[in-house]
Symmetry: C2
Subunit: 277 residues, 2 copies
């Protein structure tokens, strides 16, 4: 793909995957980006593997038809339940976020023990547990179904969100300590959760590092594209790059624009309605 711009497709059930897109853009500002949000059929995280597989495969095919040469499955639930179904559906390289997320957790953990928070469906698949076990790490997985609706309600720094997150984290970390080394990683296994990073950092035990898949997904993209990415931003540095980005949404374009801005950090300009049915 040298000599011209690569077209990278990013797929999620909704707008949350824009947190992953943002990180990839920071490393590859020169690529063209296509983003697909399956907003008419979201959420995936409460649904069965069969349904998620069907939805994810049709979404992936759509991005391939639009010209994507590499597909990043930013949705943790689709990565956990449907990566094979997606790979069967398209003829371009496909990257999920589970392996990069586990890789990142493994790189920062000393105690070899992690807590993973994610949707019901991701937790039920145990995809993170398996990916961490392959790296000699123990994992305690905890479904947090209320966090996405709270974030979508806009209650980011809100006493209710704090109370709910405390209930979830207390349960997850209480169980994780039994007979094992204390977890020193909290893996954010859903694209929405980075918006609660500050709150979760405050509530997690002090020795815990928060990890999400976005940064290591960018590294995996580099490998696939055989391109040299920009170095990761240094701590505190914020790269404000407006990508060449065309978004597709299966539900309302206006709502995608409105919610998307919150995740992308700037206006989402080009959004087209996509009809998959």
């Amino acid at each position: 793909m040298s000599g011209r711009r690569a077209t990278i497709g990013v797929f999620d059930s909704g707008v949350g995957g824009l947190t992953v897109l943002k990180e990839v853009v920071a490393r590859f500002p020169e690529a063209d980006y296509l983003y697909f949000g399956d907003t008419a059929r979201l959420p995936y995280g409460t649904k069965s593997a069969a349904t998620v597989g069907r939805y994810a495969a049709s979404s992936a095919r759509y991005l391939e038809q639009q010209g994507a040469e590499l597909l990043v499955v930013a949705c943790n639930t689709a990565s956990a339940l449907a990566l094979d179904a997606i790979r069967d559906a398209v003829n371009i390289p496909v990257l999920g976020v589970i392996e990069p997320g586990a890789e990142r957790a493994s790189a920062v953990s000393r105690t070899r023990s992690a807590v993973v928070i994610a949707t019901e469906a991701t937790v039920a698949s145990h995809a993170y547990q398996q990916a961490l076990a392959a790296r000699q790490m123990a994992a305690r997985e905890k479904a947090c179904p209320l966090l996405v609706p709270l974030i979508e309600e806009g209650w980011i720094e809100h006493p209710v969100t704090e109370q709910v997150a405390r209930i979830y984290l207390d349960e997850a970390f209480a169980g994780a300590g039994d007979g094992n080394a204390a977890p020193d990683v909290l893996l954010l296994g859903c694209t929405h959760y980075p918006l609660l990073r500050r709150l979760l950092h405050r509530l997690a035990p002090p020795q815990v590092t928060l990890v999400d898949s976005a940064e290591s997904t960018a590294a995996a993209v580099a490998q696939k594209l055989e391109l040299e990415p920009l170095p990761p931003p240094s701590p505190g540095e914020e790269r404000r790059i407006v990508p060449r980005l065309h978004c597709f949404a299966t539900d309302s374009v206006e709502k995608f624009r409105r919610l998307g801005e919150r995740f992308l950090g700037h206006e989402v300009e080009r959004v087209t309605h996509a009809d998959l049915e």
Copy 2:
């Protein structure tokens, strides 16, 4: 339809419509029932009118093909946004829950002022406001997007749910008082909310009566079927009738069974997977 049993179809985006089904069954225990939950595409309440219309029309057609002779749209969002689309899609009588709900509110209100709580999409449609205005009632509508996820998490009598409901009701009733008579009705404009009846009753101002659409929907069914229903249950009486019921769900049958029991009050025996795509 005299001389043999009627087949009544009840449609909802998920399991919540079983609260309406239960009420209809209590009045017409002798009918056959078909229930359709579009669980692979839920929720409807956060989606656009175009998407809800498309989903609801295909769901209604499915129930007609299965033999429904009368269709009750138990889903408030579909009733508010897509009743015309549904009527265009099928050749059987169609009943929504908005008109019966407004009728019931009108029957119990003295101050002619109500608060309506519902999904984002139902509130945005102002369907309840219009139905109440036609009955000379003022209405303040309030979207409560967190209540459904809290109920589905099973947090029915839970401090977080109480705090969230208090925030929503405080906002709704504070605004409703301005320059008008105080509302004396709280209309539960979503099939999930009856599960929070006790909690909402405790949090609402003391003069307020809680109203949901289920009971008056049963009366509307009687009118359509030209049948004499059983009288409504007397206060405190609980009729435990196990209906002749066949359920269809577009996502996992197991999950429908598990969640459905909570709404129906007894086991959901016959559930079949329905594929609409």
